[in-house]
């Protein structure tokens, strides 16, 4: 009688291992459920949006979902930058920051023509922003305003030009021998009705490159004629004043553009 051979057990991990087979089957069933759910979701979304799907029949939704899940697992998360809101009218008036902000917003929204205008506005604004920074630095250094040692608000004689010119030299606003021109409020003429405490301040004083240039603001000097109005504006007004004018013009242009944009 032939001897009955004992039942041979398969090594673990082989195809015939019942536990591994059950585990694979459970994973397959669960994955199929997830794939079918994802496929159905994509199918319903496509019906709403009219998106084209590579599934012609409802029976293909499981394959479709499996593809969608695989794509989801392999794709990297998309990091989107925070959208830049357009500045409101008040924000757009901030020197340099306003136009630069509008430039960034327009670039993000691919409105390149508007962005170019904003860039020009920011460039025009830069000198005024620089003047503001310089003014802040002078305030910190206590050289922005002349203030006499005693009775500052009562004694206008304490603000006489002799005191102020001397102080401006010590504060390094005017160099030794340099003429200071009363730019916006004259020292004489109608400026005589303005208190010294207002007109004899660094904001109103423009350092002259030489006495001849100072003289030509008021008279002809020898063979050199008196400056005409644009030349007087160029040579006889402080840098911050010209920068403020340029900034105002830039902001007016930007405001007009924004108005046109909103009225469309």
């Amino acid at each position: 009688m032939a001897q009955q051979s004992p039942a041979r057990r398969k090594p673990p991990g082989s195809q015939d291992d019942i536990d591994a087979w059950m585990r694979r089957r459970n994973d397959h069933v669960q994955g199929a459920g997830e794939a079918e759910a994802a496929g159905r979701k994509a199918w319903v979304t496509a019906i709403r949006t009219g998106e084209h799907l590579p599934a012609a029949h409802p029976s293909e939704v499981r394959a479709l979902g499996r593809h969608a899940l695989e794509a989801l697992q392999t794709s990297r998360p998309i990091v989107r930058p925070m959208p830049i809101q357009e500045p409101n009218p008040a924000e757009s008036m901030i020197p340099f920051v306003g136009p630069a902000w509008a430039f960034a917003a327009d670039m993000q929204n691919r409105r390149y023509r508007h962005a170019a205008v904003d860039a020009v506005g920011a460039a025009i604004d830069a000198p005024f922003a620089n003047a503001l920074v310089k003014g802040g630095r002078r305030i910190a250094e206590d050289t922005a305003f002349f203030r006499p040692k005693t009775k500052p608000w009562l004694d206008d004689a304490s603000y006489a030009w002799r005191h102020v010119r001397d102080w401006m030299g010590e504060a390094k606003i005017l160099e030794k021998g340099q003429h200071g021109h009363h730019a916006l409020i004259p020292q004489n003429g109608w400026g005589k009705r303005v208190p010294n405490a207002i007109k004899n301040q660094p904001l109103n004083i423009k350092g002259m490159p030489d006495p001849v240039t100072h003289g030509r603001l008021h008279h002809r000097m020898g063979n050199l004629p008196r400056f005409n109005a644009p030349q007087r504006y160029l040579h006889g007004t402080p840098g911050w004043w010209k920068a403020a004018h340029a900034s105002a013009a830039g902001h007016a242009a930007t405001a007009a553009m924004v108005h046109r944009k909103r009225s469309r």
Binding site: P152, G177, G180, P186, G189, H218
Partner: protein, 170 residues
């Protein structure tokens, strides 16, 4: 702190501390009372502007400041806040050591002041008058000479101060 018995106003002459100043370039100022003499700006302390200053009082006596001691910022909290927001510069209380130099004749003082004016025209120049803002342009040196003439005609220290600063106790 004992202060000399000054007769105010007091005329002062010190070396100029303007950047680029040459030796011998002098700055003229005046003090109206003891408070003025015991307070100064932080910049004056940094520049040691007061050391070596000559003081000429209204009685014709002269002192020299030998040393200056900083006694700190002179302000209450509210005073400090008020000054910081723009009413005035922060002032320091100071204690000076004065050395009496003896009486100075008025004639000598007038010439000393005239020499100081000539040595530091920046302090006395009226830029707009020279440029002709209000009338024909004036000559800088003629204006300085006119100022020196007025100083030479002054009969007292307060009058000199009035001529120089258009104020004082004359």
């Amino acid at each position: 702190m004992m202060l000399p018995p000054f007769h105010f106003p007091v005329l002062s002459i010190r070396c100029s501390v303007v950047p680029g100043a040459v030796p011998g370039e002098e700055h003229i100022d005046h003090f109206k009372n003891y408070w003025d003499l015991t307070h100064c700006r932080a910049r004056d302390l940094e520049n040691h502007a007061l050391v070596g200053m000559l003081l000429f009082d209204s009685a014709g006596r002269c002192w020299r400041i030998e040393s200056v001691q900083d006694l700190g910022i002179d302000a209450t909290f509210w005073g400090w806040l008020f000054r910081m927001i723009g009413a005035d510069s922060l002032l320091h209380r100071i204690s000076c050591e004065f050395v009496e130099k003896g009486p100075v004749p008025l004639e000598a003082l007038r010439e000393r002041v005239c020499a100081a004016i000539a040595g530091n025209p920046d302090q006395w120049r009226d830029d707009e008058a020279i440029a002709g803002e209000d009338g024909p342009p004036q000559d800088e040196w003629e204006m300085l000479a006119a100022l020196q003439d007025k100083v030479r005609q002054a009969q007292s220290v307060p009058q000199i101060i009035t001529v120089l600063f258009d104020e004082g106790a004359a």
